[in-house]
Amino acid sequence: MQWMTLLKKELLENWRNKKWIWVPLVIILLSIMDPLTTYFMPQILDSVGGMPEGTVIEMPEFAPAEVVLITLGQLSSLGVLIVVLITMGTITGERKSGVSELVLVKPVSFWNYISAKWVSFLLLVWASLFFGILVHWYYINILFGNLSFTEFLTIFFFFGVWLTFVVSLTIFYSSVVKSTGLVAFFTILTIMAMSLVTEIFQYVLDWSPNNLSDYIFESLVNGEVVSDLWITAGITFGISLLLLVSSVQIFKRKEMVIS
Protein backbone atom coordinates (compact mmCIF):
# COMPACT_ATOMS: atom_id res chain seq x y z
CA MET A 1 0.00 0.00 0.00
CA GLN A 2 2.59 2.52 1.11
CA TRP A 3 4.97 1.15 -1.50
CA MET A 4 2.36 1.60 -4.24
CA THR A 5 1.71 5.16 -3.04
CA LEU A 6 5.41 5.93 -3.37
CA LEU A 7 5.70 4.24 -6.76
CA LYS A 8 2.68 6.11 -8.10
CA LYS A 9 4.17 9.36 -6.86
CA GLU A 10 7.44 8.66 -8.66
CA LEU A 11 5.68 7.72 -11.89
CA LEU A 12 3.46 10.79 -11.71
CA GLU A 13 6.47 13.01 -11.02
CA ASN A 14 8.35 11.67 -14.03
CA TRP A 15 5.23 12.10 -16.10
CA ARG A 16 4.68 15.71 -15.02
CA ASN A 17 8.30 16.69 -15.54
CA LYS A 18 8.05 15.14 -19.01
CA LYS A 19 10.71 12.48 -18.51
CA TRP A 20 8.27 9.91 -19.85
CA ILE A 21 8.27 11.89 -23.10
CA TRP A 22 11.81 12.99 -23.69
CA VAL A 23 13.73 9.99 -22.41
CA PRO A 24 12.08 7.52 -24.84
CA LEU A 25 12.53 10.06 -27.64
CA VAL A 26 16.23 10.50 -26.96
CA ILE A 27 16.79 6.75 -26.66
CA ILE A 28 14.94 6.18 -29.94
CA LEU A 29 17.06 8.86 -31.56
CA LEU A 30 20.27 7.29 -30.28
CA SER A 31 19.12 3.87 -31.47
CA ILE A 32 18.38 4.85 -35.05
CA MET A 33 21.19 7.34 -35.59
CA ASP A 34 23.86 4.78 -36.41
CA PRO A 35 21.84 2.54 -38.73
CA LEU A 36 20.72 5.61 -40.67
CA THR A 37 24.03 7.42 -40.89
CA THR A 38 25.89 4.22 -41.70
CA TYR A 39 23.48 3.35 -44.46
CA PHE A 40 23.19 6.81 -45.98
CA MET A 41 26.83 7.84 -45.56
CA PRO A 42 27.64 7.70 -49.31
CA GLN A 43 24.66 9.94 -50.12
CA ILE A 44 25.49 12.29 -47.28
CA LEU A 45 29.09 12.65 -48.40
CA ASP A 46 27.89 13.12 -51.94
CA SER A 47 25.42 15.88 -51.14
CA VAL A 48 27.81 17.71 -48.83
CA GLY A 49 30.16 17.84 -51.78
CA GLY A 50 33.82 18.78 -51.73
CA MET A 51 34.83 15.47 -53.33
CA PRO A 52 36.81 15.58 -56.59
CA GLU A 53 34.72 14.87 -59.67
CA GLY A 54 34.39 11.19 -60.37
CA THR A 55 35.23 9.96 -56.87
CA VAL A 56 33.66 6.62 -56.20
CA ILE A 57 32.76 6.22 -52.57
CA GLU A 58 32.88 2.66 -51.49
CA MET A 59 31.65 1.83 -48.02
CA PRO A 60 32.19 -1.55 -46.49
CA GLU A 61 29.08 -3.66 -46.22
CA PHE A 62 27.87 -3.97 -42.65
CA ALA A 63 26.26 -7.06 -41.24
CA PRO A 64 23.20 -6.42 -39.02
CA ALA A 65 25.06 -7.61 -35.91
CA GLU A 66 27.85 -5.08 -36.54
CA VAL A 67 25.38 -2.19 -36.73
CA VAL A 68 23.78 -3.43 -33.51
CA LEU A 69 27.20 -3.38 -31.85
CA ILE A 70 27.84 0.22 -33.00
CA THR A 71 24.47 1.30 -31.61
CA LEU A 72 25.02 -0.50 -28.32
CA GLY A 73 28.28 1.44 -28.10
CA GLN A 74 26.34 4.65 -28.58
CA LEU A 75 23.80 3.62 -25.92
CA SER A 76 26.60 2.60 -23.57
CA SER A 77 28.08 6.09 -23.64
CA LEU A 78 25.38 8.69 -24.33
CA GLY A 79 22.54 6.41 -23.25
CA VAL A 80 24.19 5.64 -19.94
CA LEU A 81 24.86 9.34 -19.43
CA ILE A 82 21.17 10.07 -19.88
CA VAL A 83 20.16 7.33 -17.47
CA VAL A 84 22.56 8.76 -14.89
CA LEU A 85 21.27 12.30 -15.50
CA ILE A 86 17.61 11.42 -14.99
CA THR A 87 18.23 9.29 -11.91
CA MET A 88 20.98 11.14 -10.04
CA GLY A 89 18.83 13.69 -8.17
CA THR A 90 16.10 11.38 -7.06
CA ILE A 91 17.23 11.16 -3.43
CA THR A 92 19.81 13.92 -3.09
CA GLY A 93 17.43 16.40 -4.71
CA GLU A 94 14.66 15.60 -2.26
CA ARG A 95 17.05 15.83 0.65
CA LYS A 96 18.44 19.13 -0.54
CA SER A 97 15.07 20.75 -1.16
CA GLY A 98 13.78 19.44 2.15
CA VAL A 99 10.80 17.49 0.79
CA SER A 100 12.28 14.32 2.24
CA GLU A 101 11.84 15.94 5.66
CA LEU A 102 8.07 15.95 5.18
CA VAL A 103 8.02 12.48 3.65
CA LEU A 104 10.34 10.69 6.06
CA VAL A 105 8.75 12.16 9.17
CA LYS A 106 5.76 10.03 8.27
CA PRO A 107 6.10 6.37 9.20
CA VAL A 108 7.67 5.55 5.83
CA SER A 109 9.87 2.49 5.56
CA PHE A 110 13.24 3.20 4.00
CA TRP A 111 13.01 0.07 1.91
CA ASN A 112 9.72 1.31 0.40
CA TYR A 113 11.13 4.79 -0.14
CA ILE A 114 14.19 3.66 -2.09
CA SER A 115 12.89 0.54 -3.83
CA ALA A 116 9.86 2.46 -5.19
CA LYS A 117 12.28 4.92 -6.76
CA TRP A 118 14.36 2.06 -8.14
CA VAL A 119 11.36 0.38 -9.75
CA SER A 120 9.98 3.63 -11.16
CA PHE A 121 13.25 4.47 -12.91
CA LEU A 122 13.64 0.90 -14.16
CA LEU A 123 10.16 1.10 -15.69
CA LEU A 124 11.06 4.35 -17.43
CA VAL A 125 14.43 3.08 -18.66
CA TRP A 126 13.13 -0.31 -19.81
CA ALA A 127 10.17 1.27 -21.61
CA SER A 128 12.44 3.76 -23.37
CA LEU A 129 14.85 1.02 -24.30
CA PHE A 130 12.02 -1.13 -25.62
CA PHE A 131 10.89 1.56 -28.04
CA GLY A 132 14.46 2.45 -28.96
CA ILE A 133 15.48 -1.11 -29.78
CA LEU A 134 12.15 -1.75 -31.53
CA VAL A 135 12.71 1.12 -33.96
CA HIS A 136 16.36 0.13 -34.27
CA TRP A 137 15.31 -3.44 -35.13
CA TYR A 138 12.90 -2.12 -37.77
CA TYR A 139 15.59 -0.06 -39.52
CA ILE A 140 18.14 -2.88 -39.38
CA ASN A 141 15.63 -5.11 -41.09
CA ILE A 142 14.84 -2.72 -43.92
CA LEU A 143 18.37 -1.37 -44.40
CA PHE A 144 20.84 -4.11 -43.51
CA GLY A 145 19.24 -7.48 -43.51
CA ASN A 146 17.31 -9.94 -41.46
CA LEU A 147 17.33 -9.83 -37.67
CA SER A 148 14.81 -12.15 -36.04
CA PHE A 149 12.33 -11.21 -33.31
CA THR A 150 14.18 -13.44 -30.86
CA GLU A 151 17.34 -11.52 -31.63
CA PHE A 152 15.46 -8.27 -31.00
CA LEU A 153 14.39 -9.63 -27.60
CA THR A 154 17.96 -10.71 -26.86
CA ILE A 155 19.31 -7.22 -27.53
CA PHE A 156 16.50 -5.53 -25.58
CA PHE A 157 16.57 -7.82 -22.56
CA PHE A 158 20.31 -8.11 -22.02
CA PHE A 159 21.08 -4.48 -22.65
CA GLY A 160 18.23 -3.70 -20.25
CA VAL A 161 20.13 -5.64 -17.60
CA TRP A 162 23.14 -3.37 -18.15
CA LEU A 163 20.96 -0.24 -17.76
CA THR A 164 19.41 -1.79 -14.63
CA PHE A 165 22.90 -1.89 -13.21
CA VAL A 166 23.45 1.77 -14.14
CA VAL A 167 20.18 2.81 -12.43
CA SER A 168 21.09 0.80 -9.31
CA LEU A 169 24.55 2.31 -9.15
CA THR A 170 23.17 5.84 -9.52
CA ILE A 171 20.56 5.27 -6.80
CA PHE A 172 23.23 3.78 -4.60
CA TYR A 173 25.37 6.91 -4.84
CA SER A 174 22.28 9.10 -4.53
CA SER A 175 21.59 7.62 -1.12
CA VAL A 176 25.21 7.82 -0.02
CA VAL A 177 26.46 11.17 -1.28
CA LYS A 178 25.03 14.57 -0.37
CA SER A 179 25.22 16.49 -3.63
CA THR A 180 23.64 15.59 -6.95
CA GLY A 181 26.74 16.59 -8.90
CA LEU A 182 28.88 14.18 -6.92
CA VAL A 183 26.39 11.37 -7.60
CA ALA A 184 26.92 11.78 -11.34
CA PHE A 185 30.68 12.08 -10.87
CA PHE A 186 31.03 8.93 -8.76
CA THR A 187 28.66 6.89 -10.92
CA ILE A 188 30.46 7.71 -14.14
CA LEU A 189 33.84 7.31 -12.49
CA THR A 190 32.83 3.86 -11.27
CA ILE A 191 31.60 2.77 -14.70
CA MET A 192 34.79 4.04 -16.32
CA ALA A 193 36.97 2.35 -13.73
CA MET A 194 35.03 -0.90 -14.21
CA SER A 195 35.52 -0.72 -17.93
CA LEU A 196 39.26 -0.11 -17.48
CA VAL A 197 39.63 -2.98 -15.02
CA THR A 198 37.64 -5.28 -17.31
CA GLU A 199 39.93 -4.29 -20.17
CA ILE A 200 43.12 -4.95 -18.23
CA PHE A 201 42.06 -8.21 -16.60
CA GLN A 202 39.98 -9.45 -19.49
CA TYR A 203 41.25 -13.02 -19.12
CA VAL A 204 40.10 -13.23 -15.53
CA LEU A 205 36.97 -11.06 -15.59
CA ASP A 206 34.95 -13.04 -18.09
CA TRP A 207 31.65 -12.06 -16.53
CA SER A 208 32.13 -8.38 -15.82
CA PRO A 209 28.92 -6.37 -16.46
CA ASN A 210 30.88 -4.30 -18.97
CA ASN A 211 31.08 -7.33 -21.27
CA LEU A 212 27.32 -7.51 -21.83
CA SER A 213 27.41 -5.66 -25.17
CA ASP A 214 30.21 -7.89 -26.49
CA TYR A 215 28.35 -11.04 -25.52
CA ILE A 216 25.15 -9.72 -27.14
CA PHE A 217 27.17 -9.28 -30.36
CA GLU A 218 28.65 -12.74 -30.01
CA SER A 219 25.19 -14.21 -29.51
CA LEU A 220 23.90 -12.49 -32.64
CA VAL A 221 26.83 -13.82 -34.65
CA ASN A 222 26.46 -17.33 -33.24
CA GLY A 223 22.74 -17.32 -33.79
CA GLU A 224 22.00 -18.31 -30.20
CA VAL A 225 22.46 -16.80 -26.78
CA VAL A 226 25.90 -17.78 -25.54
CA SER A 227 26.10 -19.12 -21.98
CA ASP A 228 28.54 -16.35 -21.01
CA LEU A 229 25.76 -13.83 -21.67
CA TRP A 230 23.36 -15.58 -19.30
CA ILE A 231 25.94 -15.78 -16.55
CA THR A 232 27.09 -12.19 -17.01
CA ALA A 233 23.47 -10.98 -16.98
CA GLY A 234 22.78 -12.99 -13.84
CA ILE A 235 25.82 -11.54 -12.11
CA THR A 236 24.98 -8.01 -13.24
CA PHE A 237 21.43 -8.32 -11.94
CA GLY A 238 22.76 -9.77 -8.68
CA ILE A 239 25.11 -6.81 -8.20
CA SER A 240 22.19 -4.46 -8.92
CA LEU A 241 20.08 -6.04 -6.18
CA LEU A 242 23.03 -5.93 -3.82
CA LEU A 243 23.47 -2.22 -4.56
CA LEU A 244 19.78 -1.62 -3.85
CA VAL A 245 19.91 -3.45 -0.53
CA SER A 246 23.06 -1.63 0.55
CA SER A 247 21.58 1.75 -0.44
CA VAL A 248 18.71 1.10 1.96
CA GLN A 249 21.07 -0.09 4.70
CA ILE A 250 23.30 2.96 4.33
CA PHE A 251 20.39 5.35 4.06
CA LYS A 252 18.90 3.97 7.28
CA ARG A 253 22.00 4.88 9.20
CA LYS A 254 22.12 8.42 7.88
CA GLU A 255 20.47 11.49 9.35
CA MET A 256 17.26 12.23 7.52
CA VAL A 257 17.91 15.93 7.28
CA ILE A 258 21.00 17.69 6.09
CA SER A 259 22.08 20.28 8.59
Binding site: T5, G98, V99, L102, V105, K106
Partner: protein
Protein backbone atom coordinates in the same frame (compact mmCIF):
# COMPACT_ATOMS: atom_id res chain seq x y z
CA UNK B 1 -0.28 11.93 32.37
CA UNK B 2 3.00 12.19 30.57
CA UNK B 3 2.93 12.17 26.80
CA UNK B 4 6.57 12.85 26.16
CA UNK B 5 9.55 12.57 28.43
CA UNK B 6 12.96 13.65 27.25
CA UNK B 7 16.02 12.93 29.35
CA UNK B 8 19.55 14.23 28.97
CA UNK B 9 19.02 14.78 25.27
CA UNK B 10 22.29 15.76 23.61
CA UNK B 11 23.36 16.38 20.04
CA UNK B 12 26.89 17.15 19.01
CA UNK B 13 28.36 17.84 15.62
CA UNK B 14 32.05 17.18 15.82
CA UNK B 15 33.22 19.27 18.75
CA UNK B 16 30.20 21.54 18.71
CA UNK B 17 27.45 20.72 21.16
CA UNK B 18 24.18 22.06 19.80
CA UNK B 19 21.84 20.50 22.34
CA UNK B 20 23.35 19.92 25.73
CA UNK B 21 21.56 17.47 28.00
CA UNK B 22 18.04 18.83 28.07
CA UNK B 23 15.16 17.37 30.09
CA UNK B 24 11.61 18.06 29.00
CA UNK B 25 8.34 16.53 30.08
CA UNK B 26 4.78 17.39 29.16
CA UNK B 27 1.31 15.86 29.05
CA UNK B 28 -1.72 15.65 26.80
CA UNK B 29 -3.56 18.58 25.25
CA UNK B 30 -0.93 21.10 26.17
CA UNK B 31 0.51 23.86 24.10
CA UNK B 32 4.19 24.09 24.83
CA UNK B 33 6.38 26.83 23.47
CA UNK B 34 10.10 26.36 22.99
CA UNK B 35 11.64 29.78 23.18
CA UNK B 36 15.16 30.85 22.61
CA UNK B 37 17.38 33.10 20.56
CA UNK B 38 18.61 32.00 17.16
CA UNK B 39 21.10 29.18 17.47
CA UNK B 40 19.81 28.05 20.85
CA UNK B 41 19.19 24.53 19.54
CA UNK B 42 15.43 24.73 19.06
CA UNK B 43 15.29 23.23 15.57
CA UNK B 44 17.74 20.46 16.43
CA UNK B 45 15.69 19.54 19.51
CA UNK B 46 12.46 19.43 17.51
CA UNK B 47 14.06 17.39 14.76
CA UNK B 48 15.28 14.84 17.28
CA UNK B 49 11.80 14.62 18.79
CA UNK B 50 10.35 14.12 15.31
CA UNK B 51 12.81 11.30 14.68
CA UNK B 52 14.61 13.12 11.88
CA UNK B 53 17.90 13.38 13.72
CA UNK B 54 19.50 10.78 15.92
CA UNK B 55 20.42 12.00 19.40
CA UNK B 56 24.09 11.68 20.29
CA UNK B 57 22.95 10.61 23.75
CA UNK B 58 19.90 10.77 25.96
CA UNK B 59 16.46 9.30 25.58
CA UNK B 60 13.06 10.26 24.24
CA UNK B 61 10.10 8.41 25.63
CA UNK B 62 6.63 8.48 24.11
CA UNK B 63 3.59 7.28 25.95
CA UNK B 64 2.39 5.03 23.11
CA UNK B 65 5.84 3.70 22.29
CA UNK B 66 5.20 0.24 23.70
CA UNK B 67 2.55 -0.49 21.11
CA UNK B 68 4.68 0.27 18.04
CA UNK B 69 8.37 0.94 17.78
CA UNK B 70 7.89 3.58 15.09
CA UNK B 71 7.14 6.76 17.00
CA UNK B 72 6.61 8.64 13.76
CA UNK B 73 3.02 7.36 13.75
CA UNK B 74 2.17 9.64 16.65
CA UNK B 75 3.94 12.71 15.44
CA UNK B 76 3.01 15.44 13.04
CA UNK B 77 5.82 17.76 12.05
CA UNK B 78 6.12 21.00 10.18
CA UNK B 79 9.64 22.27 9.53
CA UNK B 80 10.51 25.94 9.53
CA UNK B 81 10.79 26.06 5.75
CA UNK B 82 8.51 23.32 4.51
CA UNK B 83 9.35 22.10 1.02
CA UNK B 84 6.72 20.29 -0.97
CA UNK B 85 6.57 18.37 -4.19
CA UNK B 86 5.59 21.58 -5.95
CA UNK B 87 4.46 19.69 -9.04
CA UNK B 88 1.59 18.24 -7.00
CA UNK B 89 -1.65 20.04 -6.20
CA UNK B 90 -2.43 20.83 -2.59
CA UNK B 91 -5.01 18.08 -2.48
CA UNK B 92 -2.66 15.55 -4.05
CA UNK B 93 0.05 16.30 -1.54
CA UNK B 94 -2.35 15.87 1.37
CA UNK B 95 -3.68 12.52 0.16
CA UNK B 96 -0.10 11.44 -0.55
CA UNK B 97 0.92 12.36 3.03
CA UNK B 98 -2.14 10.60 4.41
CA UNK B 99 -1.42 7.39 2.57
CA UNK B 100 2.21 7.49 3.70
CA UNK B 101 0.87 7.62 7.25
CA UNK B 102 -0.95 4.37 6.48
CA UNK B 103 -4.43 5.80 5.98
CA UNK B 104 -6.55 3.96 3.43
CA UNK B 105 -7.28 5.69 0.13
CA UNK B 106 -10.81 6.62 1.24
CA UNK B 107 -9.69 7.88 4.63
CA UNK B 108 -6.89 9.92 3.07
CA UNK B 109 -9.29 11.54 0.59
CA UNK B 110 -11.79 12.29 3.33
CA UNK B 111 -9.18 13.78 5.66
CA UNK B 112 -7.71 15.84 2.82
CA UNK B 113 -11.15 17.28 2.10
CA UNK B 114 -11.78 18.13 5.74
CA UNK B 115 -8.38 19.66 6.27
CA UNK B 116 -8.38 21.78 3.13
CA UNK B 117 -11.54 23.34 4.48
CA UNK B 118 -10.26 23.57 8.03
CA UNK B 119 -7.01 25.32 7.22
CA UNK B 120 -8.76 27.54 4.71
CA UNK B 121 -7.31 26.70 1.31
CA UNK B 122 -9.83 27.99 -1.19
CA UNK B 123 -11.71 25.67 -3.53
CA UNK B 124 -9.85 26.92 -6.60
CA UNK B 125 -6.46 26.63 -4.93
CA UNK B 126 -7.03 23.07 -3.75
CA UNK B 127 -6.47 21.66 -7.21
CA UNK B 128 -3.76 24.07 -8.23
CA UNK B 129 -0.06 23.16 -8.28
CA UNK B 130 1.70 24.00 -5.02
CA UNK B 131 4.30 25.95 -6.99
CA UNK B 132 1.66 28.69 -7.35
CA UNK B 133 0.87 28.88 -3.62
CA UNK B 134 1.74 31.91 -1.51
CA UNK B 135 3.87 31.60 1.61
CA UNK B 136 0.83 31.66 3.88
CA UNK B 137 -0.95 29.00 1.87
CA UNK B 138 2.12 26.78 1.98
CA UNK B 139 2.32 27.17 5.74
CA UNK B 140 -1.33 26.20 6.13
CA UNK B 141 -0.88 23.26 3.77
CA UNK B 142 2.13 22.32 5.88
CA UNK B 143 0.03 22.24 9.03
CA UNK B 144 -2.64 20.23 7.22
CA UNK B 145 -0.15 17.56 6.12
CA UNK B 146 1.24 17.40 9.65
CA UNK B 147 -2.14 16.60 11.24
CA UNK B 148 -3.63 14.42 8.50
CA UNK B 149 -3.10 11.23 10.52
CA UNK B 150 -4.37 12.81 13.78
CA UNK B 151 -1.07 12.67 15.64
CA UNK B 152 -0.88 12.93 19.40
CA UNK B 153 1.97 15.37 19.22
CA UNK B 154 2.18 18.17 16.70
CA UNK B 155 5.62 19.70 16.32
CA UNK B 156 5.83 23.07 14.63
CA UNK B 157 9.15 24.77 13.97
CA UNK B 158 8.69 28.54 13.87
CA UNK B 159 5.17 28.23 12.49
CA UNK B 160 4.51 31.95 12.14
CA UNK B 161 7.96 33.45 11.66
CA UNK B 162 7.71 33.86 7.90
CA UNK B 163 4.11 35.08 7.76
CA UNK B 164 2.58 38.52 7.42
CA UNK B 165 0.33 39.74 10.27
CA UNK B 166 -2.83 38.31 8.69
CA UNK B 167 -1.30 34.92 7.98
CA UNK B 168 0.17 34.90 11.46
CA UNK B 169 -3.19 35.55 13.04
CA UNK B 170 -4.79 32.76 10.99
CA UNK B 171 -2.18 30.23 11.99
CA UNK B 172 -2.41 31.18 15.67
CA UNK B 173 -6.20 30.76 15.58
CA UNK B 174 -5.75 27.39 13.92
CA UNK B 175 -3.29 26.32 16.61
CA UNK B 176 -5.72 27.43 19.30
CA UNK B 177 -8.30 25.10 17.76
CA UNK B 178 -5.89 22.18 17.37
CA UNK B 179 -4.90 22.40 21.01
CA UNK B 180 -8.15 20.71 21.91
CA UNK B 181 -7.26 17.59 19.95
CA UNK B 182 -3.53 17.18 20.46
CA UNK B 183 -0.46 18.44 22.22
CA UNK B 184 1.36 21.14 20.32
CA UNK B 185 5.05 21.77 20.75
CA UNK B 186 6.24 24.77 18.81
CA UNK B 187 9.35 26.86 18.70
CA UNK B 188 9.47 30.57 18.28
CA UNK B 189 11.63 33.55 18.94
CA UNK B 190 8.63 35.84 18.82
CA UNK B 191 7.65 36.01 22.44
CA UNK B 192 4.23 37.53 21.89
CA UNK B 193 3.12 34.44 20.04
CA UNK B 194 4.26 32.19 22.83
CA UNK B 195 2.53 34.41 25.35
CA UNK B 196 -0.68 34.31 23.37
CA UNK B 197 -1.34 30.60 23.03
CA UNK B 198 1.01 28.51 25.09
CA UNK B 199 0.32 26.96 28.47
CA UNK B 200 3.89 26.07 29.20
CA UNK B 201 7.18 27.60 28.25
CA UNK B 202 10.60 26.13 27.84
CA UNK B 203 13.40 28.63 27.54
CA UNK B 204 16.40 27.38 25.68
CA UNK B 205 19.76 29.03 25.40
CA UNK B 206 23.06 27.57 24.23
CA UNK B 207 21.50 24.12 23.99
CA UNK B 208 20.35 24.10 27.60
CA UNK B 209 16.97 24.54 29.24
CA UNK B 210 17.44 27.62 31.37
CA UNK B 211 13.90 27.92 32.63
CA UNK B 212 10.62 26.15 32.17
CA UNK B 213 7.17 26.04 33.63
CA UNK B 214 3.66 27.39 33.36
CA UNK B 215 3.39 30.86 31.91
CA UNK B 216 1.60 32.23 34.98
CA UNK B 217 4.19 30.80 37.36
CA UNK B 218 7.08 32.18 35.37
CA UNK B 219 5.41 35.56 35.25
CA UNK B 220 5.11 35.60 38.99
CA UNK B 221 8.68 34.50 39.46
CA UNK B 222 10.22 37.13 37.25
CA UNK B 223 7.65 39.82 37.60
CA UNK B 224 8.70 43.37 38.27
CA UNK B 225 6.46 46.30 37.72
CA UNK B 226 7.35 49.24 35.59
CA UNK B 227 5.53 52.48 36.11
CA UNK B 228 5.61 54.99 33.30
CA UNK B 229 5.42 58.63 34.21
CA UNK B 230 5.23 61.61 31.90
CA UNK B 231 4.93 65.25 32.89
CA UNK B 232 4.32 68.42 30.96
CA UNK B 233 7.65 69.80 32.13
CA UNK B 234 11.30 68.82 32.31
CA UNK B 235 11.14 65.34 33.78
CA UNK B 236 14.67 65.50 35.22
CA UNK B 237 13.45 67.94 37.86
CA UNK B 238 11.29 65.23 39.42
CA UNK B 239 13.65 62.27 39.25
CA UNK B 240 15.34 62.86 42.60
CA UNK B 241 12.03 63.10 44.43
CA UNK B 242 10.99 59.76 42.98
CA UNK B 243 14.30 58.12 43.73
CA UNK B 244 13.94 59.00 47.37
CA UNK B 245 10.76 57.02 47.70
CA UNK B 246 11.00 53.80 49.67
CA UNK B 247 9.18 51.46 47.29
CA UNK B 248 11.18 52.49 44.23
CA UNK B 249 14.03 50.27 43.10
CA UNK B 250 15.44 52.36 40.31
CA UNK B 251 14.52 54.77 37.53
CA UNK B 252 15.56 55.56 34.04
CA UNK B 253 14.65 58.24 31.55
CA UNK B 254 14.11 57.53 27.91
CA UNK B 255 12.71 60.14 25.52
CA UNK B 256 11.21 62.22 28.34
CA UNK B 257 9.47 59.23 29.84
CA UNK B 258 10.42 58.20 33.33
CA UNK B 259 10.41 54.44 33.90
CA UNK B 260 10.16 53.48 37.52
CA UNK B 261 10.89 49.92 38.57
CA UNK B 262 9.48 48.50 41.75
CA UNK B 263 8.88 45.13 43.26
CA UNK B 264 6.09 46.42 45.42
CA UNK B 265 3.45 47.82 43.16
CA UNK B 266 0.86 48.92 45.73
CA UNK B 267 3.29 50.88 47.85
CA UNK B 268 5.01 52.47 44.90
CA UNK B 269 1.72 53.56 43.38
CA UNK B 270 0.53 55.07 46.67
CA UNK B 271 3.76 56.96 47.30
CA UNK B 272 4.05 58.33 43.77
CA UNK B 273 0.43 59.40 43.46
CA UNK B 274 0.64 60.97 46.88
CA UNK B 275 3.60 63.01 45.74
CA UNK B 276 1.88 63.98 42.52
CA UNK B 277 -1.20 65.25 44.33
CA UNK B 278 0.45 67.05 47.21
CA UNK B 279 3.02 68.81 45.01
CA UNK B 280 0.63 69.24 42.11
CA UNK B 281 2.84 67.84 39.35
CA UNK B 282 1.72 68.48 35.74
CA UNK B 283 1.32 64.77 35.01
CA UNK B 284 0.22 63.76 31.50
CA UNK B 285 0.70 59.99 31.74
CA UNK B 286 0.74 57.60 34.59
CA UNK B 287 0.59 53.94 33.65
CA UNK B 288 1.52 50.60 35.10
CA UNK B 289 2.98 47.96 32.82
CA UNK B 290 3.49 44.39 33.78
CA UNK B 291 6.84 43.17 32.59
CA UNK B 292 6.43 41.51 29.23
CA UNK B 293 7.66 38.07 28.39
CA UNK B 294 10.43 39.79 26.52
CA UNK B 295 11.75 41.46 29.64
CA UNK B 296 11.55 38.17 31.44
CA UNK B 297 13.35 36.47 28.59
CA UNK B 298 16.13 39.02 28.57
CA UNK B 299 16.44 38.67 32.31
CA UNK B 300 16.70 34.90 32.20
CA UNK B 301 19.04 34.76 29.23
CA UNK B 302 21.35 37.37 30.67
CA UNK B 303 21.48 35.98 34.19
Amino acid sequence: MTLVKVQKLTKTYGKKTVVNGIDIEFGHHKCVALIGPNGAGKTTTLRMLAGLLKPTSGSIYFESQNKTPDIREFIGYLPQYPAFHTWMTGREFLTFSGKLANLSKEEANKRADELLKEVGISREAQDERISRYSGGMKQRLGIAQAIIHKPKLLILDEPVASLDPIGRREVLILMEKLKEEMTILFSTHILNDAEEISDELILLNDGKVIESGKLTELRKKYQTTVIELQVDDDITKYVDRINNLQAVLNTKIERDILYITSDHLNNARKEILNLVLTENWPVTTFSINKASLEDMFMKVVNS
